[in-house]
Every structure is written in C-alpha cells, then in structure tokens.
Amino acid sequence: MKRLAVAAVTIGALAAVDMLLPRFLNPYFMRVLMLCGISIVLAVSLNLINGFTGQFSIGHAGFMAIGAYSSAIFSMHIGVGWVSALSALGVPQGLAQAAALVVALILGGLAAALAGYFVGLPSLRLRGDYLAIVTLGFGEIIRVIITNVNAVGAARGLPGIPAWANFFWVAVAVIAVVGVSMRIANSTHGRALFAIRDDEVAAEALGVDTTRYKVIAFVIGSFFAGIAGGLFAHYNAYLHPNSFTFLKSIEIIAMVVLGGLGSITGSILAAILLTVLPEALRSAQELRMVLYSMMIIVLMITRPGGLMGSREIDVRRWFGRRRARPA
C-alpha cells in the first residue's frame, strides 16, 4: 500500500509540474530540460551495459534510432487513428494522446530490445575490443539501412510525427530507467553482472551463465534506448538519420564514462552536464567540439573513474540514519 501511495503522489506531483512548468520556463529552457531527460534515459540505459556488465557497446545510437523510427511509424499510421477514435467516444484528447504515446513508446522499446537481442546474441561471445567494433558496426548498419528505406523518409527525413511527448512522460521514463537499474544493481542478477564485469572467466568458472546475463543486460539497455528514441521522435516531431550517427553513440558513452562507469547517479549528473554545457558554451561554438574531445582525453588520463567512480549519491545519508540499512 505504501508503495502505491508513493507512486500516486509522484505521478500527481509530476503532472502538476508538467502543467506549471511552462509558466516559469520559456520554451527554450523547456527544450533543454526535455533533452536532458532523454539524455539521462540514454546514459543510464547504456550504463547498464557498459558500467554494470563491463561490455563495450558503442552502437547505442542505433537502438535509439530503431526505437525512434518504430514508434514514429506506429504513431503516424495507427496511433493517430486511435486518438481520433477515442476522442469520438468522448475520451479527452490529452488522455487519448497519452495512451497512444505510451503504446508507441513501448513498441519502440520492444523493437529496439529485439534488435538488441539479435545483435547481442552473436556478438557477446566476443571480447571487449571486438565487441566494441561490432556494436559500432551494427549501429552504422542500422543507420545505413534507415537511410535507404524510402518508407521512413530515407535521407530526406521523416516529418509530421505527432508531438505528444511532454515533461511528464520524459520524467516517467527517467524514473523507470533509474528504478530498473537500481533494482538490478541491488539484486542477485546485478551481482552476476558485476561479477562478469570484474572477471568474466572467473564468473563463468563459478557457474554464472555469462552469455545469458550479458544478453539480458543488452536487451534491457536497448529497450530503454528505444524508449528514449521514441521520446526524441515525439518531441522533435521530425526524424533524420543524421541524428543517430556514431558521434551520437560517442556522446552517450562520454556521459557514462564522465559520470563513472557503474554509477547511476554519475550517469544522471553527467548527462545533465553534457546537455546543458554545450548550450552554455554557445559563444565558443567553433571551439566546442575541440574542447569536448580534449575534455574526454584529459578525463581519461587524470580520472578514469569519472565523476562518481562507481559510487552513488545516497541521499539518505544527508538526512541522517533514519532507517537502518542491512549491513
């Protein structure tokens, strides 16, 4: 019951914030906020694969693309039909759109998860560096395929996606991905993942079915990348394959690495930082990418653990030990 109450309160609070926010923030800042949220979902989902399980995946943008395009196609062809049908039945439009969006997002996530499964299964037999290049390759293959499929606009892009995404749903996605990550981190499943990260051979020797766990991590990570892609599609209302290049994958990796591999809060903070910072640095736009790359190099040399290492911010410590933690 307590959980249900907390959930209800959170949802209520988010809905309230969603309605009030436009009063305080102009659309530009709203946009930055939304993009932060989407970046957080991407970073935390990649953290599951790279940080928890120690697998070098650098094709995350490919899964984001699959989620984006699948959910967009669904919304444009089927979703709008549902919304008008529901509205005709008297359902308030906002609610109908929300429902259609949820279905679209989940479909996008599932499509990405499926892709994650098919990519992961053969690739996860490979060792670190090879896996990195293979995932990079898959990301590129996905992008090349999208650029060649006329039905999704190919190189011309896909305009006209219904703009149903709002703060509420981005926040829900963030909570979902963080919640799932934390659940995994604190479970035996998570321990298996950490074991694989620390020493795969030892884990296998101890009876951990490494391939199975790696694939599961991959699938879950891809699912959320697909959700992020769906939100991206329904917020921008326009998709173009150039948004999902290798560079995008690297940006997400930079967030995870900057935050500290394996740290959820690290990924969140780094995602926010790396989304807001370019906006703040607009004046130095020519130097922006150069500074960005130098930051990555310096970070890797001086503090490869990232901002948080593999620790998390534990807020309860700030409030004093109100609840006893099991040792």
Partner: protein
C-alpha cells in the same frame, strides 16, 4: 523502489530545475533595437553552406551600414548567428533559443531542407516569420504562412533541366547518378525524371552514390555499359567535379548535366578540363551584366576574397527582402513598427507587428535581387527564372534562361 528512486533523482532534478528556472526567469535584453536571427550549419558536414549563408547576410548588413548607419526606422539592426552543427535537432534547439532568448523578429535559414523542416514549425507556432534562402523541399513552406523561401522549387528546376536536355540539347536517353544521402538530390532526380519522361525522354539507368564518397568508378562503369546520351548528376559540386574526372578517365565522353548544387567557385578547380561541355541549372550566372549582381559580386570579393556561390547570393537577397519589408513597415505604420523593437518583446504590440511584417514579406513582388527578379507566390515560394550555365574551357559561361 519508488521512494529510493525518487530520493536518488530528487537532488539532481531539483538542482537542474532551480538552475533553469533562475536563468529562465532572467530578463531579456530590453534595448531599442531590431534583432534578426540566423541559423546555419557552421560546423559539421555541411559547414560550407552555413558559412556561405552567413557571408551573404553579412554583405547585406554591411550595405545597410553604409546606407543608413545600420539602422532601419531609427533602430539599429543586429543579427545573431547560431550554429546547428548540420544536425536537425540542433537546428530546432537554436531556433527555439533565437526566438525565446534573443527575441528575434525574423529567422533567416536554413539551406538544407531537413534543418529548415526542423526549425519551421517552431517559427510558425511562435508567429515569427522565417525566410529560407535556399531550401528546396516543397514541404518547408507548407508548414505555415509564416514560412517563406527565396529560391525556386526543385520541381521547377527539374523541369528546366529536362527541357534543356530534351529540347535544347535534343538528347533522349539519359542516365542519372544521384546522391542518395541528400534529399535535395533525390528530389531533383525525381522531378527531372517526371518532366523528362513527359517530354518523351527515357532514363535508361539510375545509379546512386553518397555525399562524401570519393570513388564513383563502380557506378560510372555500370553507366558506361548502358551508353546514355548524357549523364544527369543532380548532386553537389564536391562530388560532381570528381565524377566528371573519373568519367573521363573511364572513357565516358557524354555531357554531364547538373543542378544548382554544382554552383561553387571550386567546381572547376576540382573538375578541371573534365567539365568542359557540361551544363548545370542555377539561380544566376556570374558573368551576367545585371548591375545588382555585379555590385554584390564586387562587395563579396572585396570582403571575402573569393566568389560567392548561389547560397550566399540567395542569403543576401533574403536579408535584403527582410530589411526592405521592415523599412516599409517603418514608413507605412510607424506605431506598429515600434512593436518590433526588442524593448517590446513578448508584448501584444510585438505580435501585431510580426503579423504586419509577415504580410509585407509575402507581398514581395518583382524585387530586383542579385539572384534575379523575385516575386513570392501565394505559397510563399519565389517565382523566378533559372539560367543554364555551360562550362567552356574551364570557365562558367551563361547559356540560356528559362522562365517559370
């Protein structure tokens, strides 16, 4: 689960919200000035397009400086330029910033239709006019009545190329080599095919490459086997030049015909002698005696030490059309004009002024620009003639004009 999750994210979220809200509530510049926004790809894959646009607008601004000390109706004009890194979602972000942070009265941009399409809905929703100098996808102006473009549509350009090939050159069987990564190229190829087949011609083979490719021998070898009368290359100058070279190396002697994407001073540098006997349709011919064009050419050469491409010329015209419309508003309706000043940003006076400005831009008729005589039709597209340029002895020479 939920409580711990919320507790974990809460501090970060609160921090973020606080920062954004504080910054968002901050006041905007409330000086008496006219702020115009410009967005383009100054970095990334299409960096040359953004730079050309920026240069063209700068010349227009420079002329405004000498004409009236950079002021219209007594208010100084300031142009804010933002880089969208050749990415559509970045284009949306910068347009949002220009409208909400810089409070611009009009947005100039973009070159690539994909990025114009990303920014146009934002301008339309905010009631801020947007003038694209050179986006050719028909969908751009279909977004709404606040969106304009300074160039002809590729539908028209495709027809021009088809008429030239079929009627002027009298060639009936062609091969097409298009850039499948560019919506411009794919669209132009399509429009050409429609017009050309309607004129009785036939496309015997269609090959594709991707912008950035260096080697086209495979496609050219396949084309060579089919023996076309001409090869249509509706892509950009960087590849067109190389394609011409490699075609000649492989023994293909047919003329190559292209669109305004060929327009650049680097074209002949890259293509060299291979381009002799080739043609392309364009917005202007640099050797035309038109005084407006020559004046612009001179100013551009003085300032940037090179020749402008059509993108720069169109940007120049777009900026001037805008300045002209603002000037008209200042003359005809001074009280409404005041609403355009930054000091009135966000007020109803501003929205009123924007509406009037939009109407004035839409009424552009027979404007003598550097890229030709511009009239905006009821779909807010520019109705203007196209010229065909021939390359003779390594130089670009005017060949013929086609009127809409």
């Amino acid at each position: 689960m939920t409580s711990r999750t919320v507790l974990r994210i809460a501090p970060a979220a609160a921090l973020l919200l606080a920062v954004l809200t504080a910054a968002g509530c901050g006041g905007s510049a409330s000086q008496e000035e006219l702020v115009v926004g410009e967005f383009g790809s100054l970095t990334g894959n299409d960096a040359t397009f953004g730079t050309s646009t920026k240069n063209g607008v700068e010349i227009a601004l420079q002329e405004l400086q000498s004409r009236s000390a950079g002021k219209i109706g007594g208010l100084p004009v300031r142009v804010v330029v933002e880089d969208d890194q050749s990415k559509p979602e970045e284009a949306a972000t910068v347009v949002q910033k220009l409208i909400n942070q810089d409070r611009v009265i009009t947005v100039l941009g973009e070159v690539a239709s994909s990025r114009s399409l990303a920014g146009a809905p934002i301008c339309q929703n905010a009631g801020v006019p947007m003038i694209s100098p050179s986006s050719t996808n028909p969908r751009v102006t279909q977004v709404g009545d606040y969106i304009f473009r300074m160039c002809f549509l590729d539908q028209f350009q495709g027809t021009v190329m088809a008429r030239f090939t079929a009627q002027t050159l009298n060639l009936k069987k062609v091969a097409i080599l298009k850039d499948s990564k560019s919506d411009y190229s794919v669209g132009l190829a399509q429009f050409f095919t429609e017009a050309f087949t309607a004129l009785g011609g036939s496309i015997i083979t269609e090959q594709a490459y991707q912008s950035g490719d260096n080697d086209f021998r495979a496609q050219l070898t396949a084309i060579k086997a089919k023996r076309p009368d001409a090869i249509i290359v509706p892509g950009y100058y960087t590849e067109a030049g190389l394609i011409a070279r490699q075609a000649r190396e492989l023994g293909l002697k047919q003329p190559l015909i292209g669109g305004d994407g060929w327009e650049s001073e680097k074209l002949t540098e890259i293509g060299g002698e291979a381009l002799n006997g080739c043609y392309y349709s364009n917005h202007w011919a640099l050797d035309s005696p038109d005084p407006k064009l020559q004046a612009f050419l001179q100013s551009y050469r003085d300032k940037f030490k090179g020749d402008p491409d059509a993108i720069g010329g169109l940007a120049y015209d777009a900026a001037n059309v805008l300045f002209g419309a603002i000037e008209k508003l200042a003359e005809q309706d001074p009280s409404a004009f005041k609403g355009l000043s930054s000091a009135h940003a966000g007020s109803s006076a501003r929205s009123e002024a924007e509406k009037k400005l939009r109407d004035l831009i839409a009424a552009t008729t027979n404007y003598a620009g550097a890229t030709g005589t511009i009239t905006l039709d009821q779909n807010r597209n520019a109705s203007k003639p196209a010229v065909v340029i021939e390359i003779k002895d390594g130089k670009k020479v005017f060949n013929s004009t086609f009127n809409p």
